[in-house]
Symmetry: none
Subunit: 216 residues, 4 copies
DNA sequence: CATGAATGAGGCTTCATTCAT
DNA sequence: CATGAATGAAGCCTCATTCAT
C-alpha cells in the first residue's frame, strides 16, 4: 500500500496504471451506451489493450462496472460526508445549497452523471448491480441531505417539512437534469437547457420554498 | 355460428383484438426490461401467440415500440391539449396544478411512465426512436406547460419567470418520480416514496415558489 | 372439356380464369427474383387473391413453378417441333436460322427467358425441378436442333460437324443472351447489348462458320 | 513449443491460414448452392470452425463473397491483363485464342466458374454484389477482349467487326459452358458435353468466322 | 502478465404451409 | 371455393467469456 519512493521498473509502473486506464475507458463507454449495450471489446480497445486483459483485472462485466462506480461517485460521496460533518458553523440553507451545487459540479456535470442515468434504466435487469448501487450511492447520498434538512428544521432555519420526503424532492431536479444531459435528444432540447441557469432557478425555488413563513 | 349482436365470427374478432393484446404485453415487458433487453418472443408468448404473429401486426421491434407509445402517452397528451385549450376561465395556477396532477395520474402512475424512463436511458442507442419520442412527446408536452406559464405571467398570476426554463424545472420532479417508481431498487427506497405525498409536497413548492411577490 | 356456349354464371367463369392469373403473376415474379427468393404471398397479391387460394390450385411452390414452365416454354417447343417436321422443303441453313430466331422471339425475348436463367442457377438446390426441366425442355429442344444439323450435314448443306456438339455451341449464345437480358447489371451493360444486333452477328457467324469449304 | 524453421507458434500460424481455409469452403458452397442458399454455418463447419469465427475474418456474408471473387476471378484477370500487354509480337488471332483458352482453363474449368453462374442468377437480388462484380470482373474482362479485337482489325488480321459487340458474342459460349458445367442437370447432359471438344469447336468457329474475306 | 482466436448461446426477422371459418 | 391468421423452423449476426500460447 505504501510504495516508498518508486523502486519498480518503468514497465511495471505502466502495469499498475492499467486498471485506471481501463476504468476511464469503461466509464466513457458505459455512460455513452449503457451497461448492456457496451461491448467489452470496445472498452479494451479504447484503453489500448486486448479483450482478454480486461479479465485479468476484473472478474467480469459487472465487477468492472462496480469498480467504475467506486472510483467516481462513491469516492465523491465520501468527501461530501466529511465536509458536511465539518461544517457545523455554516447556515443550513447555505450548506444545503453547497451540497446540491457540489453534487452538480462533481457528479452531475461530469461523465459520472451518466452512471446514475444508467442505473435508473438498467437496474431492473441486473439486480446485483442495483443492490450495490443502492447501498453505496443512494442510501448514503440521501442520508446526507436528510441530515442537513433535519438540522435546518431543528434550528428553525427551514419551515417544518418531512426531511425524508423533501430529500427526494430536492434530489429529483438534479437527477433529471443529469439524465437530460446524458440523453441523446436531437435538435433543440440539448441546446435549450443551460445547466447553470437551471441550477440557479432551482436553488432560488428551494430558498424561497423552504423559508419559514414570516408572519402567520 | 350466429353471434347475436356481433356479426363477425369469433375468429375475426380475435384478429381485431390481437393488436391490443400485443400492445399490452409489449408495454408490460418494455417497461420491465427496457427496449433492447425485451425479447419479442417473450412479448408474443405473453400475449399467447407465436413469435411470427407479431410480425403480422408490427413491422419490427421499433415499430412495435412506437405503437405502444402512441397508444399510451401520445393519446394522453392529445386529450390534455384539448382540455387546456377549453379551460379559458380557470386560474393559471389551478390549470397548471391540474395538468401536473393529470400527468402524474394518467402517465406517471401507470405503466406508461416506464416508457419515459426507457427513452431517457436508451434513446442514444436508437436514434430513430429518439427522434420519434422527441417530436411526439417531449416537444408537445413541453409546449403545453410553457403555454400555461406564459398565460399566468401575462395575467399577473405568476411572478415573471422564463417560461421555457421553468417548464423544464416543473417537468423534472415528475419525470424523476416516474423513473424512481419504475426502477428496481430493492429494500427501502420503493416503500419510502409515496407518490401522492410527493406530488403534494411538489405542488406546494410550486404554488409558493411561483406566487408573485406581494411587494414588501 | 367442351363448354358449348357458356352456360356458367359470370362469377364462375371468373373462377376458371384464376389459374391463368396466378400463372401470370408467378411467371413475372419467378423471373424477377428467382425461385427461392419469390414469396408466394407476393404471387398471390399480384394476382389479387389470398395466399391460401394458391394452394387450392397448386399443391406447393414447386408444382406452381412446373405449371408456369408448361404454360410457356414447353408449349412453344411443341409448336416448333411440329413446324420443323412440316418444313421438308426448306434449306437446312434457313430452317436452322428460323428456329434460332424463333427461339429468341418466342422465348428469349419474353419473360420466359428468365425461367431458363433461373433453372441454370437454382436447379442444384431443387433436384425435382431440375429433372422436370431437363426432360421437358432441354432434351426436347436439343433434339430439335440436332436433327436439323444432321439433316444439313447429310444433304451437304453444312460442312461435316458433330451435330450434338454443335447443337450445344449454337444453343450457347442464345442462352447467354437470355441470361444477360435478365440479369441486373447496372450501367452500360444493359444498354450496350442490343439483342437483335447480337442475333444478326451470331447468325452471320453461324452461316459462314458452317458453310462447307468451297475449294479443298 | 519450438518450431525449428517457422518461428510463429502453431496457433498463430493457424490464424494466418484461416482466411484461406474459409475462402476455400465458401467457394465450394457458394458454387454448389448459390449465394442466398448457402448457410454461413455450413461454410464454417466445412472449414472446421464455429459460426462466429467467420465474423472474425469477414464482416458479413456479402463481404465473404466479394473476398472469394477477389481471390479467384479478379486475380486471374489481373494476370491476363499483364500477359496481354506483354504479347506485342503475337498474332491477334493467336492472342485471342490464348485468352479464351486461358479463361476456360483458369476460370471456366475450375470452381470459380460457378461464381459467374451465381452472379448471373442472383445479382438482381443483391445489387451491391452486382455492382462489385460488374466493376471488378465484367468491365475489366470485356475491355481485355475488346482491346484484342480492335488490335486485330486495325492490323488487318480480322475482318471489320464491331469490337464491343463481337466481344459479347465471344464471351457468350464460354459463359454458357461455365454455367452448363455448374448446373445440376441429371442424366445425360453432364456427360455429353466435353468442355475441351466444345472449346475446339468454338475456337474453330471463331477463327473461320473472323478471318478477313479473301476478296472473291 | 498479455494476447486475441475461438466459441456458442441467443435475439431479430422471414416465409412456406396449414386450417378454422 | 376462398380467406388470412397463425405457426415454427431456419438463417444472419452479436458478444461475453475462455484458454492455448
Amino acid at each position: 500500500m505504501q510504495a516508498p519512493t518508486d523502486t519498480k521498473p518503468r514497465w511495471e509502473r505502466r502495469k499498475d496504471a492499467r486498471p485506471q486506464e481501463l476504468l476511464a475507458s469503461a466509464l466513457e463507454l458505459f455512460v455513452d451506451r449503457g451497461f448492456a449495450a457496451t461491448r467489452l471489446e470496445d472498452v479494451a480497445r479504447a484503453a489500448g489493450v486486448s479483450k482478454g486483459t480486461l479479465y485479468l483485472y476484473f472478474e467480469n462485466k459487472q465487477e468492472l462496472f462496480k469498480a467504475v462506480v467506486r472510483e467516481t461517485i462513491v469516492q465523491t460521496i465520501g468527501q461530501a460526508e466529511s465536509d458536511a460533518a465539518a461544517a457545523e458553523g455554516m447556515s443550513s440553507c447555505e450548506l444545503l445549497r453547497q451540497m446540491l451545487r457540489r453534487w452538480w459540479t462533481q457528479v452531475g456535470a461530469t461523465k459520472a452523471a451518466g452512471l446514475t442515468k444508467l442505473m435508473m434504466a438498467e437496474s431492473g435487469n441486473f439486480p446485483e448491480l442495483a443492490q450495490f448501487y443502492n447501498e453505496e450511492v443512494i442510501e448514503r447520498g440521501s442520508a446526507l441531505l436528510t441530515g442537513i434538512l433535519e438540522r435546518g428544521v431543528a434550528r428553525g432555519e427551514f419551515r417544518p417539512v418531512d426531511p425524508v420526503m423533501m430529500t427526494n424532492v430536492l434530489i429529483a431536479p438534479v437527477m433529471t437534469l443529469m439524465m437530460w444531459k446524458h440523453s441523446f435528444f436531437p435538435c433543440e432540447t440539448h441546446d435549450t437547457i443551460d445547466a447553470d441557469a437551471f441550477m440557479d432557478t432551482f436553488l432560488g425555488l428551494v430558498q424561497q420554498g423552504l423559508a419559514p413563513q414570516k408572519n402567520p
